[in-house]
């Protein structure tokens, strides 16, 4: 293709076309090398209210992120959703301008693994459905949920969506990654109210790669049973309690402190850990945590990261010992290891976990082996969901103070807690774990068993 060709709108992601265009522009601009991440998505979604369609949405979005190395080998980046010829030319110009301010102290390079074989191919052809089909499913779910109990009066937050996404990574060294993912999701957040009592709410979410396999009934049932269990509520006393984190809640907490495993955060001084923390014992011996982006239950799995590095399963904590970190190309180079497939794409590349898996190391005994969420007689607090993680977590200090939904359980009797907060330090939580149950439960954000922790501060209103 010639630079002066008449393409006004590239439209769909076309790797060959993009490579050709970028090759031309980089030659014109003395760009030493370049790489690019791009994504394209299409989705439809519906919301309902009282048996009627409320909002029906569709979208198609493209985005590219372009990184260039200028003649002084300094890196600049830009992103754009304007996939016209002019748009891409403007992006190249923007990246070149930004490269003048590239960080000479820490410059990224191509990932050494960007052309390695991928361990898993992901190319899902989505079977798209008519929006009326989605609408009818959601109307039916709303009705079933409201009918499930006389106190449930509405489902104010709900949605059903179906989407497909393409993602690619290419570079001037010949790397060319491509994947296609299909995903469906439903969320139901219902409200219930009984006379002379406060309104209560609860919700749940389900994800699948195929709308027809989305487990809508379990989403309805979980929301309903959870909400019904919150109808009878009481304030609790401020005290230190034995706490059992449900899998979702424990994963929320770990994810909020994932900077502990993040090499980028460690280098930047933003983590609770430091460069000498690998090999240190930071938790009880029976705790294992890994990041497994390619786990079969991860419906949002990507098989390569923003730098084209294959996604890998990484053991983070084994037997309570910090064993590995999550890396980009630049952080891996600094630590003398290989990138792990957890990078974004940038002049300063971010790092993040994919899919956390918490498990019990059976080589070690639980401190309180008799504890079990369904049969324990002791009084404990069962934490269902944490809130306000964006503001109540001090990741660099290791502390948290968070509102939560949950129950106080005594002799097997569960009573919803009216309003309360939980506060503590993540390392104390890790070291006060008294039981990790055997059964691992898959959630939409990872896998974890129920985890029991002793002596956690709970503030109540009693």
């Amino acid at each position: 293709m010639k630079n002066n060709s008449s393409i006004e709108n590239i439209g769909e992601l076309n790797p060959a076309l993009l490579i050709e265009l970028l090759t031309i522009y980089s030659q014109e601009s003395n760009i030493l090398k370049w790489d690019m991440g791009a994504s394209s998505s299409q989705d439809i979604s519906v919301q309902v209210q009282n048996g009627n369609a409320k909002q029906l949405k569709g979208s198609q979005r493209n985005n590219i992120t372009l990184r260039v190395w200028n003649s002084k080998n300094k890196v600049g980046i830009t992103s754009t959703s304007d996939l016209t010829n002019l748009g891409i030319k403007k992006a190249v110009k923007g990246a070149l301008e930004a490269s003048e301010f590239g960080n000479e102290n820490e410059s990224p390079e191509f990932s050494t693994l960007a052309k390695d074989p991928l361990s898993k191919s992901i190319s899902m052809d989505s079977k798209s459905h008519d929006i009326d089909y989605l609408l009818n499913i959601l109307k039916d779910a709303e009705r079933k949920l409201i009918d499930s109990h006389e106190s449930i009066d509405s489902v104010p937050y709900n949605g059903l969506s179906e989407s497909s996404m393409e993602r690619l990574y290419i570079n001037s060294d010949g790397a060319n990654r491509y994947m296609k993912l299909a995903q469906s999701s439903i969320y139901l957040y219902a409200k219930a109210e009984e006379e002379n009592k406060k309104p209560r709410s609860a919700g749940s979410i389900r994800l699948s790669n195929d709308l027809d396999k989305l487990d809508i009934n379990s989403c309805i049932n979980e929301t309903s049973s959870k909400l019904i269990s919150h109808l009878k509520y009481q304030p609790i006393k401020t005290n230190k309690y034995l706490v059992c984190f449900k899998p979702d809640a424990f994963l929320q907490l770990i994810a909020a402190f994932s900077s502990m495993f993040n090499a980028r955060s460690i280098i930047d001084g933003l983590s609770l850990m430091n460069e000498n923390s690998i090999g240190k014992k930071i938790a009880v011996s029976n705790l294992n945590i890994s990041d497994e982006g390619l786990h079969p239950r991860n419906v949002g799995a990507f098989n390569f990261d923003g730098e084209g590095t294959p996604t890998q399963n990484i053991e983070l904590i084994k037997s309570g010992v910090l064993t590995n970190l999550l890396h980009s190309e630049a952080t891996a180079r600094k630590f003398g290891v290989k990138p792990t497939g957890h990078a974004g794409l940038g002049a300063k590349v971010s790092v993040s976990p994919d899919w956390l898996v918490v498990s019990k190391n059976n080589d070690f005994e639980d401190k309180e082996s008799d504890l079990n969420v369904s049969s324990t007689d002791k009084e404990f607090i069962l934490i269902d969901e944490l809130s306000a993680l964006h503001s109540g977590v001090k990741a660099s200090q290791g502390s948290f103070s968070l509102p939560f939904d949950g129950w106080i359980v005594n002799n097997g009797k569960k009573i919803s807690i009216e309003a309360a907060t939980i506060a503590g330090d993540i390392l104390k939580v890790f070291n006060n774990i008294v039981k990790i149950e055997a059964e691992q439960i898959a959630t939409h954000q990872g896998i974890s068993p129920h985890v029991w922790v002793d002596e956690i501060s709970i503030t109540g209103e009693a």
Partner: protein, 476 residues
């Protein structure tokens, strides 16, 4: 997605595309839709980050897109696209119509009378982008900021300063004749530090933001910000965890206003009324707050982060009195909210970008100032908490809110005492508003971002110092 390679792209937002937009709107209206709205957007953003004394990230980004919304009765279909070719927009329009069971009837063009003359709110703003600091000037300012932090205190482990410039050009056209264009410029600077000493760590952060002021970064008083931030970090370094319980609190002005934003503001958006989740849905002209509380939401304050010349539905913003001396007066409403709840539009239809349908959202929201001095509020408390700096917060679906305290001090016998950390305030909107018993005379505003149904939008929160008679303080 369309593959059409149309010669004409909807990339110039002015009168020259009027006839083409009218053609699209007429096609949409021919289907029998009640109303069709097209929102076009271009963005030109840049962000820089300085860490320690080095620029570590410069990220320009550009965007284009369109959102097409069709109303039929009380429901609506919305489709967004990056494809601003004529074919791309026609495809999006067809999709939005089909969602509502409508089809273009090209023979039927009688229903649309055409657009009004362009109302150009962006007329005197075309130079804004060029008037903003360039990359060199921005870089220098940020490095000055991190250096100033270093001068304040050599023991700061992490020093960061960031700058974001978000330039947006929008055009709104609808079959009720609305045809309006605007240019928006939002800039934010943020600084944060981590202080460390004797194995104690504290973090402190500040963010400042403005709209429509190209000189905002140039005018930033670095020395003052650095001093305040360092003071806060040092004060919190040896702070003990707050003891949990129910207690009276005094919330400082500026970002303390997040309590009203979360505990009340969201519940006064018609978006919440539509869902049936606002406890105030039937309380207009009734008392919902202490008589010391009057509150407004407006989009007109000069340079305030939540100010607008027009909302994202082409309507000029208003100064909306929400609460007068404790009595609920008005809700915030957008086009859909007005249609579904009957509350008149207030110029509050806002969206993060083209990929969201507009919804009723807050702009500059604050409690009006009262008659007391801040000292009088503190003197009125024997044992309580002074929240000098607030973190973020959120509100749940039934009105329960929470927010974190970044910098807090105990109040003992009417005086400020030791610093405390780790406090989270929780409560129910209906219960807290009547407990705001004293408002000081020092109203001030602070910039923030608010995430909700139509994405993340720029807002201002604000208040004078206020006293809440009793609130649950989560701690240890």
């Amino acid at each position: 997605m369309t593959n059409q390679k149309d010669k004409h792209l909807f990339h110039i937002f002015d009168e020259t595309i009027k006839s083409q937009i009218e053609e699209l709107l007429a096609l949409g209206k021919s289907s029998g839709a009640d109303l069709v709205e097209i929102f076009l957007e271009k963005t030109d953003n840049i962000s820089l980050l300085s860490e320690q004394s080095c620029i570590s990230n410069v990220s320009p980004s550009f965007g284009i897109g369109a959102g097409i919304r069709v109303f039929l009765g009380k429901k609506d279909g919305f489709v967004s696209t990056n494809d601003l070719s004529k074919g791309g927009l026609l495809f999006a329009l067809t999709q939005a119509l089909r969602m509502l069971g409508l089809e273009i009837d090209s023979l039927n063009k009688d229903y649309f009378e055409g657009l009004s003359n362009l109302k150009d709110f962006g007329l005197n703003k075309d130079s804004w982008l060029n008037e903003c600091p360039d990359l060199n000037e921005s870089k220098s300012k940020l490095i000055n900021a991190t250096d100033a932090l270093s001068r304040e205190n050599k023991n700061l482990q992490v020093r960061r300063a960031s700058y974001s410039r978000n330039w947006q050009e929008v055009l709104v056209a609808a079959t009720d004749g609305v045809f309006a264009r605007d240019i928006r410029l939002h800039q934010t600077v943020g600084i944060n530090v981590i202080a460390e000493q004797d194995k104690n760590r504290s973090t402190s952060a500040r963010r400042y933001g403005s709209s429509g002021n190209p000189n905002d970064l140039r005018d930033w008083d670095i020395e003052k910000s650095s001093f305040e931030l360092n003071q806060s970090a040092q004060n919190m370094l040896y702070a003990k965890h707050v003891e949990a319980g129910q207690m009276p609190v005094v919330l400082a002005n500026k970002f303390g206003g997040v309590i009203f934003h979360e505990a009340c503001g969201h519940l006064l958006e018609t978006t919440q009324l539509e869902r049936g989740t606002s406890p105030f849905h039937d309380k207009v002209n009734q008392k919902i707050a202490h008589s010391s509380v009057s509150a407004v939401d407006e989009g007109i304050s000069n340079y305030a982060f939540g100010s607008l010349s027009m909302d994202d539905e082409g309507m000029e913003p208003q100064n909306t009195l929400l609460i007068k001396e404790g009595i609920l007066k008005k809700f915030l409403s957008d086009r859909a909210g007005s249609l579904r709840t009957g509350h008149a539009r207030t110029g509050s239809g806002r969206r993060q970008n083209f990929s969201f349908a507009a919804a009723s959202r807050m702009r500059n929201t604050y409690i009006k100032q009262g008659q007391y001095t801040p000292e009088q509020l503190i003197e009125s408390i024997d044992n309580g908490l002074y929240c000098k700096s607030m973190g973020g917060g959120s509100v749940g679906p039934t009105g329960q809110f929470n927010f974190s305290v970044e910098e807090g001090y105990l109040i003992k016998n009417g005086k400020l005492d030791k610093p405390v950390k780790g406090a989270t305030l929780i409560g129910e909107a209906k219960e807290i508003l009547p407990r705001i018993s004293m408002c000081a005379d020092d109203l001030d505003l602070a910039a923030g971002f608010c995430g909700s149904v139509s994405g993340s939008v720029n807002v201002t929160v604000g208040q004078p110092h206020i006293k809440v008679d009793s609130i649950t303080v989560g701690g240890r």
